[in-house]
């Protein structure tokens, strides 16, 4: 079974004689993924600087999470291009290519889950270190509530990503409500957009245009993090 996102890309790109709009959409999706991965790596780099300066474990988890996420998205975008080019040179889709596409899709999903796990650990660790037991409970309950609806098609790993992102989003919301700073608001909105994008990816099997909107929303999430980075780095004393 081909990963739904890959299937969409293959369908739109492997028919060059048809209407160009689907191909333009696929190109836009590719550009959005590259930009998202770049921003993720930037945030990871900033977190690494923070870890180097303070040795705070939260920074280490954030650094690893954003790096894994950024590299995963980048590799996925590049391999998607590879598959498209490979498909264009063949009349029929060889089964080996399909298998390779599945493996690539699984690897991408696993890197995403790895990244979201690290984000979850960041907030859980932070809540525990500050003695905020109520935050841990709230976050865990929120994460459990998210995948309650059973659908006809359930990509289990996508639901896992949604659960983890749900916890992270609620934690960042709680933090923003406590701190009331623009930077923490941008982080909350960023994670919120990422969560929403995964919901769109989840429903992509019903309407494939949701892939495009999901990528757009995901990019919006990363843009929020980029704005936060720009604001933080504009600091003057």
């Amino acid at each position: 079974m081909i990963h739904p996102q890959d299937r969409k890309v293959i369908q739109t790109i492997s028919h060059p004689g048809e209407n160009l709009s689907p191909q333009l959409l696929a190109l836009l999706v590719f550009i959005m993924e590259i930009v998202s991965s770049f921003i993720s790596i930037l945030v990871g780099y900033q977190a690494s600087k923070g870890y180097k300066a303070s040795s705070a474990k939260g920074f280490l988890f954030l650094y690893m999470g954003f790096m894994v996420l950024g590299v995963g998205i980048f590799l996925r975008a590049i391999t998607a291009v590879f598959f498209v080019l490979a498909i264009r040179t063949t009349e029929t889709l060889p089964s080996s290519l399909v298998s390779l596409s599945n493996v690539a899709g699984i690897i991408f999903t696993v890197t995403q889950l790895g990244a979201y796990s690290l984000f979850t650990v960041t907030y859980a660790f932070q809540a525990r270190s500050l003695g905020q037991r109520d935050l841990e409970v709230v976050g865990t309950v929120a994460a459990a509530v998210f995948p309650i609806a059973r659908l006809f098609y359930i990509p289990a790993l996508e639901l896992l990503a949604i659960s983890m992102l749900g916890f992270v989003t609620v934690s960042s919301l709680t933090h923003w409500l406590h701190q009331k700073t623009l930077a923490s608001a941008l982080v909350f909105i960023g994670f919120g957009f990422m969560l929403f994008s995964h919901l769109l990816f989840l429903f992509m099997i019903f309407d494939e245009v949701l892939l495009f909107f999901g990528q757009l929303v995901q990019l919006a999430g990363f843009m929020c993090l980029l704005i936060m980075l720009a604001k933080v780095n504009r600091t003057r004393v």
């Binding site: 934690s171 600091t235 004393v237």
Partner: protein, 96 residues
Amino acid sequence: MSREHKEYRSKTRIYADILNSLLAHGGKSGPTHILLGANLSHDRLMKHLKQLIELGLICEEAESTEKIFKLTDKGRTFIIEFVKVEKFADAFGISI
């Protein structure tokens, strides 16, 4: 029964507090003002001041009978970078 969380200051935070204390006094000050501003005991302060001199973040000058510590350019850069790290940490709710 809840446990009270005791706030722990990292070494980097202590350095930042010392340097900010110097900055607040126009970039140079004697140990007494730094001690009050950074909220440290005398022994710990002197230990950290020695480390900061070795790192090149401050330098020592002799003015009449009192030692004066002065913020270097490297020290000012450290403060700016630390504030950025602090704001980034605050955005994600990480304590440093």
